[in-house]
């Protein structure tokens, strides 16, 4: 009798287990490529946190159409080669339904070939080189502004609002820096001003004395820096040490709280275009407060800029499209391409253009009293 009872119990467990398993739909797989090591770590952590926050909220509210979202985050070590491997893993091994993430133009330009070939929708949140969104890249979208828009914007602000007359340029010789520099020079041309000096450096450089000495000799009143952490803050510190008093301007590469940590004095007064600022509207502020509460207090300070884009892309673009189109990749791509709507932090309605680029107005900030403050354009 006892044995029968045990067997019956076992059968019951098996059957009920089987039933509940077939009852739950397979999860939607969302892939994220992000640098969790190497020079891009601080940006990558933001991307990862934004994704976790969004997916957690969606899953707690019952998922998308009853399906939970499973997040697969792969580290690309801020390296283009490893970025390709990371994307291959997501596409081939994990068979994700879509990819949202990516940092660094060189990395994204390398890894997007994989998602393009496999026909997986890929929404880029952290790379700005114009070549990423072109008409021939059918599966690749991007939510942040390109180098050309940002660099042109900052050229205009530098000349027309800040009244700079002698602007010098220093750029990282990677895809990001060169893309920015080219667009900036083009805009300067249209503004009828010639940069007084143009210098380049390599991402791994630590000492910028030679470049900055040349720049100092040109006696600039503005220095446009197109680079990221740690190059950019090092340039700022060393420029001030050399006695360069020019005002620093730049684009999204500088929009990282680590800039202020690494160049606390030298970065003061820097004006830059950024991709998100919490004080643009009330919803942005409310989100940022929730974000800092979740991720602040760790060993690394919370970095809202790319986290905000990752979060908003998942919540406002991916979620409604997954709801509407399901996980059929062609339909999903179609839905994203025709999507139109409001996201917090951007004043006007936004949509993707025919190249897959999200059209929007850029956000300006100034480094003031050790924080990024919203900068009012006149």
């Amino acid at each position: 009798m006892k044995h029968v009872a045990i067997v019956a119990a076992l059968v019951l467990v098996l059957v009920s287990g089987g039933v509940s398993e077939s009852g739950a739909a397979a999860p939607i797989k969302l892939g994220v490529v992000a640098p969790l090591s190497g020079p891009g770590t601080s940006y990558g952590l933001g991307i990862k946190q934004g994704a976790e926050m969004a997916v957690d909220e969606i899953n707690k509210a019952g998922g998308v159409g009853g399906r939970q979202i499973q997040l697969v985050v792969v580290d690309d070590a801020s390296n283009p080669g490893q970025s390709v491997t990371a994307m291959q893993r997501l596409v081939n091994q994990d068979a994700v339904d879509l990819v949202i993430g990516g940092w660094g133009s060189s990395q994204v330009l390398a890894n997007m070939e994989v998602s393009e070939r496999a026909g997986v929708p890929n929404i880029v949140v952290g790379a700005t080189n114009p070549k990423i969104t072109t008409a021939k890249n059918k599966w690749t979208f991007r939510v942040i502004q390109t180098d050309s828009v940002q660099a042109k914007e900052i050229a205009k602000i530098g000349v027309q609002v800040l009244g700079l007359k002698r602007i010098a340029v220093i750029n990282d010789s990677n895809d990001y820096g060169v893309g920015n520099k080219d667009a900036f020079l083009e805009a300067m041309d249209e503004l009828k001003q010639k940069p007084v000096e143009i210098q380049a450096y390599n991402s791994s450089d630590k000492d910028f004395t030679a470049q900055l000495t040349r720049i100092k000799a040109a006696n600039p009143d503005g220095l446009a820096i197109f680079g990221t952490i740690p190059g950019a803050p090092a340039i700022m510190n060393q420029a001030r040490d050399l006695g360069i008093t020019a005002r620093f301007i730049g684009t999204g590469g500088l929009a990282n709280e680590n800039l202020i940590t690494l160049a606390p004095k030298a970065s003061a007064g820097t004006v830059l275009t950024t991709l998100f600022h919490e004080d643009v509207d009330a919803d942005g502020r409310a989100w940022a407060d929730r974000y800092t509460k979740l991720f602040g207090g760790g060993s690394q300070p919370a970095r809202p800029v790319l986290a905000a884009w990752e979060y908003r892309t998942i919540r406002f673009i991916a979620q409604p499209c997954l709801q509407k189109a399901g996980t059929d990749k062609g339909k999903l791509r179609e839905c994203i391409a025709t999507w139109k709507g409001k996201v917090f932090g951007v004043p006007t309605e936004v949509h993707f253009d025919e190249t897959g680029q999200l059209v929007q107005e850029s956000v300006l900030v100034e480094v003031k009293d050790g924080v990024f403050a919203a900068y009012k354009r006149k």
Binding site: S37, P39, A200, T209, A210, T213, P230, D241
Partner: protein, 287 residues
């Protein structure tokens, strides 16, 4: 402008030289290259960072503490690891590459991002003619000179130093006349660790520190040592300063984006003309 570039180049060159000394010390003794040298330099910086931020060590005691600690670690690693590797050059090279990767990733666990180093040498700006630079540059150059003087004194006037030299000249004969060969080799490793770690503390306040800072410096320090003559201490110093200067001048006057190309093309040319390095000498092969 020239002076500014020269000052920057000499200071960078001194760092290459001091890290390069680590390569030279080990190479002279074992005829082997320790590829973890650059990462030892990086680890030295982080050790200095810890002491300077946690316990507020002032400049001189910080340098001494880091040197002593690195010397000790070098001795221990010799006993635990190097001693089992240096019977064969290939095994040694692969072993030290592995050790470097372990060091780098251990530091990366705790410091995944670049962090600022406290200005232990002060924040004063020194003005020299048309050149302006942080007072830390003076420390870098002065300490390099002091280190070379100390090493010279060690090898010329002390028993320990003479024993190390004897082992470097011929371990077999040194052994038969009573020198404890393994111990002298251990001390050589300790010394090579100490100089690299001191270089790490010197460079810390000038730039930010990150777990990958040893890659490029290690590589260039190795080149500096080869350029100067890897079996010669004065040669390594000369090679380091020359490489730093070449880089800075190339960046200032030729192309900042291709400074490494210019510097290393010149280096190749020099080695083609003088394969033993500037002050190096050929070691006769014994039969």
């Amino acid at each position: 402008m020239l002076w500014q570039i020269v000052v920057g180049g000499v200071a960078t060159g001194c760092i290459y030289a001091v890290v390069g000394l680590g390569f030279t010390l080990v190479y002279r003794t074992l005829r082997m290259v320790n590829f973890a040298q650059g990462h030892v330099f990086m680890a030295g910086t982080f050790l200095g960072l810890l002491l300077a931020t946690r316990w507020q060590f002032p400049a001189v005691s910080l340098l001494v503490a880091v040197a002593v600690a690195a010397y000790g670690i070098g001795l221990l690693l010799d006993r635990w690891i190097f001693r089992r590797l240096y019977h064969d050059h290939v095994v040694f090279v692969v072993g030290t590459i592995g050790l470097g990767i372990v060091l780098q990733n251990a530091v990366r666990l705790f410091f995944p991002e670049p962090v600022p180093f406290p200005k232990v040498f002060g924040e004063r700006i020194v003005v020299l003619g048309s050149a302006r630079f942080q007072v830390s540059y003076v420390w870098v150059v002065a300490l390099t000179v002091l280190l070379v003087a100390l090493l010279h004194a060690l090898f010329a006037y002390t028993r320990v130093g003479r024993a190390m030299r004897a082992v470097a000249a011929d371990p077999e004969i040194a052994g038969t006349v009573g020198v404890k060969v393994p111990r002298a080799i251990g001390q050589t490793f300790g010394l090579s660790f100490a100089v690299a770690a001191v270089a790490g503390v010197l460079i810390g306040p000038l730039y930010f520190v990150s777990f990958d800072m040893g890659d490029m410096v290690g590589l260039k320090a190795f080149c500096a040592a080869v350029l100067g003559g890897i079996n010669s201490i004065p040669g390594t110093i000369a090679g380091g300063v020359l490489l730093g200067l070449l880089e800075a001048l190339a960046a200032g006057y030729v192309s900042s984006a291709y400074k490494d190309l210019v510097a290393f093309a010149l280096l190749l040319l020099m080695l083609a003309i003088r394969p033993t390095g500037l002050l190096g000498y050929e070691t006769p092969v014994k039969v």
